[in-house]
């Protein structure tokens, strides 16, 4: 009995992971960033990678609020946008005054722009958490977005502020004209920001932020003012969002009111939540997926936002931990060696679930394209949105797919129960 108890505590105690593996993961990530453009060197993919890199920095900065401190902000794009404007103005000023500041330093000024605004308004905003904070962030977001159209001298009105990144002093002989050089600049700042933001979670402030997220009342009785903790977290989030905005300004050579708006704020909330807020790498996955979908879906369908909405609702309802939560759920099973018990049930579910998904897509596209639109091309098969055959296929796929898929989902749940029970017996699951 005692042996069982001690062995039960042992595997859990080792869950922190070895430092060697920790550094290996970071090095693999950095290596991937370096190699990616060599594998996919077309202009289109370089632009995609650049956008994904910016989105990752932005989503990670958002998770300082949402995942680390428990602050749901509807106006995070304010810092992103102001960072972008700050970077544009700085670039134009560097060119106009002939300052010796090369382009790679510009994102820092974007960060300072985001930080300055966070420091200014953050104190009032973070006085309260929860709904009050969410509402104020929404209000501030709208306020800044609408001011951007009014204050023309700062924000350039509808047209925005344009700039020329190649006019800045060179560094290592790089002009930053080609997209490849811009990509590496973004990748550099991505790595720097990600390391800094990860390190932040390992500081006393980072840990106390988690405590404030879990229980702001109790934090007061261990000597901390939750308001100060929220404020500092907010400033850091604003700073890194500003860096992301600065990178965007460099990439597009423009900053306009779209940077600051509710759509941008919604998109980062979306990416972060889909990726998963409980793990540091969650927002990275979310930013990659959402940016990729955004780029891919817009060329395929006019109702791409609808798919985003469905994915978001699906995640909120069935996997509140996001993609990262889904992945990490399997860690104790892998450790306990019971992953093999659930894999067959997954494979069984793939076909009916995919059929259901195809049915839903077909239904949506039929509705969207019924009155005038191209034929639906679903994985190489053409469907006429006005033909009853298409409607019948969609109905069969949705109804049939759902009925069969539901059975396979039940099997997954049962297999999970068995695997988790064994893992628990072996002491890998609390």
């Amino acid at each position: 009995m005692t042996a069982a108890v001690t062995s039960a505590s042992h595997p859990l105690a080792k869950s922190a992971g070895s430092p060697l593996r920790f550094y290996a993961i970071w090095l693999i990530g950095i290596a991937a960033l370096i190699i990616l453009p060599l594998l996919f060197s077309s202009g289109g993919s370089l632009t995609s990678f650049s956008l994904i890199g910016i989105a990752i920095v932005f989503a990670l900065s958002y998770n300082i609020l949402l995942g680390q401190t428990g602050l749901l902000s509807f106006g995070h794009a304010v810092h992103y946008g102001l960072g972008g404007f700050a970077a544009c103005h700085m670039m134009n000023a560097v060119v106009a005054h002939g300052w010796p500041i090369p382009l790679p330093f510009i994102p820092l000024f974007g960060g300072l722009g985001g930080l300055a605004f966070a420091m200014l308004l953050g104190w009032v905003m973070t006085k309260r958490a929860g709904t009050v904070f969410a509402m104020i962030s929404l209000g501030i977001g709208e306020l800044v977005a609408s001011s951007s159209l009014i204050l023309r001298s700062v924000f350039g009105g509808e047209a925005g502020i344009t700039t020329d990144r190649t006019a800045l002093p060179r560094m290592f002989g790089w002009t930053f004209g080609p997209q490849l050089q811009v990509y590496y600049l973004i990748a550099f700042w991505l790595v720097l920001s990600a390391i800094a933001m990860y390190a932040l979670t390992r500081t006393p402030l980072g840990r106390i932020s988690n405590a404030v997220r879990d229980n702001p009342e109790r934090v007061q009785f261990i000597g901390y003012d939750p308001h100060v903790v929220r404020y500092l977290a907010y400033c850091f989030a604003g700073f890194f969002a500003g860096i992301a905005g600065g990178l965007a300004a460099i990439s597009f050579e423009i900053a306009n009111s779209a940077y600051l708006g509710a759509i941008q704020s919604g998109l980062v909330l979306f990416s972060t939540f889909i990726g998963g807020t409980a793990y540091f790498f969650g927002p990275i996955l979310g930013a990659i997926l959402v940016t990729y979908l955004q780029l891919g879906l817009t060329s395929l369908t006019s109702v791409w936002q609808l798919y985003f909405g469905i994915i978001f609702i699906g995640i909120v309802m069935f996997s509140p931990g996001g993609i990262a939560g889904l992945l990490m759920m399997h860690r104790p099973l892998i450790r306990a060696g019971t992953l093999g018990m659930v894999i067959p049930s997954y494979l069984l579910a793939v076909v009916p679930t995919a059929a259901l998904a195809c049915g839903v897509i077909l239904t949506i596209e039929t509705v969207a394209r019924y009155s005038g639109g191209d034929a639906i091309n679903l994985f190489g098969v053409a469907f006429n949105p006005q033909s009853p055959v298409t409607w019948a296929v969609a109905a069969v796929l949705v109804v049939g797919g759902f009925l069969v898929a539901r059975l396979t989902w039940q099997r997954i749940a049962e297999a999970w129960d068995r695997a988790a029970t064994v893992a628990r017996d072996r002491g890998y699951l609390a």
Partner: protein
């Protein structure tokens, strides 16, 4: 010698309802002081008033001679007063280790630092390990607090409360909902951990109160009707009438 806690003529009203009226309470340094009273007497409100959770309508509270009424909870905590909660109130998604470590950070002077690695602060690690050892939860250090058993959570609650090294510790019904064996364990733990500190405890279990306390105050309808040693309280006719009498027969 000034008292550790001195409550003078404190009154608390919520609207027109006076919950606490003319409350006077004195807790000497180093003593174990229990507050008892029937349900709704205002014991938790008294705790909330002293710890800064709510502000008194009038009157004052002193900690080691300094006025603390009107200060905010974290300011009072920094002056060396720490409290636990009747309902378990820990950081549910953080591990046992992190719960205790968070409670150690302010007292070890790291405050809001964002330039230090929290894992490489030797005195923090050592102090956290000591506390975990004290509350017998070392073997559960990497378990999220929300997954602990109820009794373990109560022990963690006590650990978090004493971790800052506070000189005055207030525990709100630390053994509520525990079995007899668990209560015994908890009382031994409290006795050991509050050695050399001032303890104020709210408790319903009379065996715990009379076994642990040096002095007892009886609170009825927001007013202390008697304060004294367990023996004096037992003999006090007012107490027998208002409170113990009901249980005596």
């Amino acid at each position: 010698m000034t008292a550790a806690i001195e409550v003078r003529a404190v009154e608390k009203r919520f609207g027109n309802v006076g919950v606490i009226r003319d409350l006077n309470l004195s807790v000497n340094r180093g003593e174990r002081h229990a507050i008892i009273g029937p349900n709704g007497a205002g014991k938790s409100t008294t705790f909330n008033l002293i710890s800064g959770h709510i502000r008194p309508t009038s009157g004052e509270v002193r900690l080691n001679g300094d006025v603390i009424s009107g200060l905010r909870p974290f300011e009072i905590n920094r002056r060396g007063l720490s409290r636990s909660f009747q309902v378990t109130n820990v950081f549910a998604r953080m591990t046992v280790w992190e719960n205790v470590r968070c409670a150690v950070l302010w007292a070890t002077g790291h405050r809001y630092a964002f330039w230090k690695n929290v894992d490489s602060l030797p005195e923090v690690r050592q102090r956290t390990a000591e506390i975990l050892d004290d509350i017998h939860l070392t073997h559960r250090r990497d378990v999220p607090a929300g997954l602990l058993t109820y009794a373990e959570q109560r022990e963690l609650e006590i650990g978090v409360t004493i971790a800052s090294g506070a000189t005055v510790v207030m525990l709100d019904e630390p053994t509520a909902g525990m079995s007899n064996a668990e209560t015994e364990r908890a009382v031994a733990l409290i006795r050991r951990l509050t050695e050399g500190r001032t303890l104020v405890i709210v408790e319903h279990d009379m065996s715990v109160v009379f076994g642990l306390a040096d002095r007892i105050s009886v609170l009825v309808y927001g007013h202390i009707i008697a304060s004294g040693t367990p023996e004096e309280i037992r003999r006090d006719p007012k107490v027998r009438e208002a409170y113990l009498g009901e249980e005596a027969h």
